[in-house]
Symmetry: C2
Subunit: 519 residues, 2 copies
């Protein structure tokens, strides 16, 4: 790959690739990491009785119903706690159905008996949407993980909701297709959870949102009714966009049990390059040049600031991941191309580099991955930020869309605010994210653990700042239990009202994922 670009490669990347996926369940749970539960009062739902348990065991088989009375706390924790350890509920029972029919029977029973339910996939969400707030039943879809069908002509796959994203992608790779979605948690998150939360991630720039790629959905409504709106056709314009109701509704309108997804061909040639820029203005100009010169083969444009990279380098010390450039720089841009003709793509990348390093001078230094190991190590620098900042202390995470020119202003103003309050030595802010989608991740890690003062400095200030800048308070993570009280900052009252109308129509008793999305 791109041998003709080697003069540019001043630094050296380790040959030791590190796995990109997050581990199945972090083993670093300590009390200091646990945030207080959501402040929403428990709804007037019934409490689980012995006779309910008996019935649920009849439906699912005894071993597929876990209760705190019988199971070790640590096993239960994986269903009750989110992966950052910020939110934790006390579910009365964890339910593990193996089929749509079982999901239907469980929900019908829950609805009839006024029991609240949290649907759960890989439980990798970042807004506390997939864990109980009080004692809701957890409905885990992990046993429903089969790929049911692939049409090798069209690339349309039919898959059960609990299939892990990476497993689905590896299955598709055998047939030269790919999931039009990729994200750091791919080794744990499930495709049903991805759809339920309308996950964004690293392939969004090229392949767009799941709203465009998910062709059909089978879902179970709150009362147990199974809605079959699966379609294995690229085009089907018969009636309302029912799958869209469930995409992005975070399990509050129904439980997705199966999906049909239009998958693009796996690209034959992939190039990864990593550049340093002197300021955010040049970061933006580098992106504009990339769009112009790389056109239809551009598949990702990501960025990090130095602070983010420092966290990764510290966390990954000893693993072989290191700074590929000789000097430190304030900003980094990662560019990926994916195309069907390697020679053409390299030529386009060459034209881009000539402009970016020559006449336009938007980049100071850079490397192009010479093989897949280097490519993975470069991606690790970007993908490792979230994990590195979560591990270094207690992290306050914000996921926002902003008009591109104002995207980094928020990071700078956050730093100024922390400094003014005298906490800049323990509260470290970093900015990174999906530049191509104007999606900023602002993380603030409190090195000394959870800190209410820092929290008070950040919220609701960040959300209000984003709102006045006409941004979105959640670009891709969703609302969950974290942001219902701030929803009005990104949604008009009329839209929130319509959301309530839909919720009442589909789940009149409100048993599905209560306390989430809508306040």
């Amino acid at each position: 790959m791109l041998a003709f670009l080697s003069p540019l490669r001043r630094g050296a990347l380790s040959a030791h690739a590190t796995p990109l996926a997050v581990s199945v369940w972090p083993s670093r749970w300590t009390a200091r990491n646990l945030q207080t539960a959501s402040t929403a009062a428990r709804g007037t739902f019934a409490s689980l009785r012995d006779e309910d348990l008996q019935k649920l065991r009849q439906i699912l088989g005894a071993k597929n119903v876990l209760t705190p009375q019988e199971v070790e706390t640590e096993e239960l924790a994986r269903y009750n706690r989110d992966w950052m350890g910020k939110w934790e509920g006390r579910s009365a029972a964890i339910l593990k159905p193996a089929s749509t029919e079982e999901v239907s029977l469980v929900l019908k029973y829950a609805n009839d008996h006024n029991l609240a339910v949290v649907p759960q996939g890989g439980n990798t969400g970042l807004v506390g949407g997939s864990v109980p707030v009080h004692d809701e039943l957890v409905l885990s879809l992990l046993r429903m993980n089969a790929v049911e069908d692939l049409d090798q002509r069209s690339g349309i796959v039919t898959v059960q909701a609990g299939c892990v994203l990476e497993n689905l992608d590896q299955y598709l790779a055998q047939h030269d297709f790919m999931v039009p979605l990729d994200l750091g948690a791919k080794g744990t998150c499930t495709i049903g959870g991805n759809a339920a939360t309308n996950a964004g991630g690293l392939r969004y720039l090229r392949y767009g949102s799941l709203r465009g790629n998910v062709l059909g959905v089978e879902a179970v409504l709150a009362d147990g009714q199974v809605v079959n709106s699966l379609s294995a056709l690229r085009k089907d314009n018969t009636g309302y966009g029912l799958p869209q109701l469930f995409i992005g509704s975070e399990g509050t309108l129904g439980v997705i049990t199966k999906l049909t997804i239009l998958c693009p061909p796996r690209p034959k040639a992939v190039n990864i390059a990593f550049f340093a820029c002197a300021d955010f203005d040049r970061v933006q100009r580098t992106f504009a040049l990339a769009r112009q010169k790389l056109g239809e083969v551009l598949s990702a444009v990501e960025f990090c600031d130095r602070s983010a990279i420092d966290f990764v380098l510290k966390r990954e010390a000893g693993t072989g991941v290191r700074d590929p450039l000789e000097e430190k720089h304030p900003f980094y841009v990662l560019i990926e191309t994916s195309g069907s003709d390697g020679d053409h793509d390299e030529q386009k990348l060459h034209n881009f580099l000539e402009a970016a390093m020559g006449e336009e001078s938007t980049v100071l230094d850079g490397v192009v991955a010479a093989d897949e190991t280097q490519a993975r190590a470069i991606w690790r620098l970007r993908e490792g930020v979230s994990d590195a900042m979560t591990t270094a202390g207690y992290v306050y995470k914000y996921d926002v869309s902003l008009p591109l020119p104002r995207m980094y202003e928020l990071v700078e103003e956050t730093r100024a605010r922390l400094k003014e309050a005298g906490v800049e030595d323990t509260a470290k802010a970093a900015g990174y994210g999906h530049l191509g989608d104007a999606n900023l991740h602002l993380n603030v890690t409190s090195l000394s653990g959870r800190d209410d003062k820092v929290h008070g400095l950040l919220e609701p200030w960040v959300f209000e700042w984003v709102s006045q800048a006409h941004g979105s308070i959640s670009a891709e993570h969703g609302i969950g239990q974290c942001k219902p009280n701030f929803l009005h900052l990104s949604k008009a009252d009329s839209a929130i009202q319509l959301m309530r109308t839909l919720k009442s129509a589909l789940d009149p008793k409100g048993i599905l994922n209560p306390y989430k999305v809508l306040a």
Copy 2:
């Protein structure tokens, strides 16, 4: 363009380009073209009274309310009849609001007084969805046609619903962007109507459905409530996918008044090629080769059979459009590439041609357009089919998705069926459509005018055939008043039930576009 390919070009295309857009309003209305109205009985809506008219004139201004008492029949016909002349209502009044507020006031009044309303854009639909069945008020959005904003960095445009698609595209062209949608009726149809019907068209293969490209919608509900779910952000994951409710619901859940759309950059290089194939198997293999060799620059793969081309050549006699190939062939494939680097695209096209004409031998003959005039003339051969078959007699149109290998079987079996009934001399079947999306248009033109015998041979037989082949009875045209009774052939009962739940929740009195979509 592609000078190196000229040896392939055996035929010659006229230099006289013909306009691609359909005329604003065909002038060929004759009684023989009018089909009987839908058989749905009039609902228990109120009839328009003088005091209602007075109030509506107060809201809109007297000249923006047209009634049969004051206006020439031919002017009213453009709102009451669909463009094929198949369906015609007798609207009590045509209403022409100029703002969202006026739409809101009109709907609130109509809902309070139990008056039924048909929202209408360019009225180019093919399923009778945009004309009244009985005396419904027509709410024409044509005066709300402004482009309000374009973010030149992101390509996100904010536009009023009544803007004509071609006007929007021309506006965007000035800024090097394009609408991710193109269809034959572009000179008349409106972007709001396109979204309301989830229109497909010629750019679908490359840019996907409007569900992925429309970022936000402002819509007015049946009771006059304005729902602002506009978002001018590429990524915004705050709450339910409200715009999706209105996309594809054909005006039965709300009236779209404004949209935000993510528009791609206009391609710098476009190539058009036109090939002849001996059979449908080779048509499919040509498509597979195109996907393989043209990859990310492939932007359209269309097909026609000889019968379709014969209709166009007859209709266009004297206009300069003629067969670009020397001999007649059973099948034709049109391929378009769009990319950012003309040299690379030509090279990819060359590689494709080498395979298609060489080792793989999937094509018999072909031409590549040498300039834009030739490109338009080639497109005219494909785009002109619908108009040519409509003008030649009374046309029965079907728009279906099918598994690719079975796509042309339907045309062959239709011909056999017409022959068996002895009507093959007057009832001519042709197949064409969007091969890349497995979307077949089957047209049967009855040369002697409307023919109930032909109609009886075709329906419900075509729909049932498609259903048993696991296809969709409407790939892109929608349901309208034409197909509600066949909806169950493409949608599960559970899905239709959920559609009814949504309709009841959003429009409890059912005043919005009654008799359409749901039976």
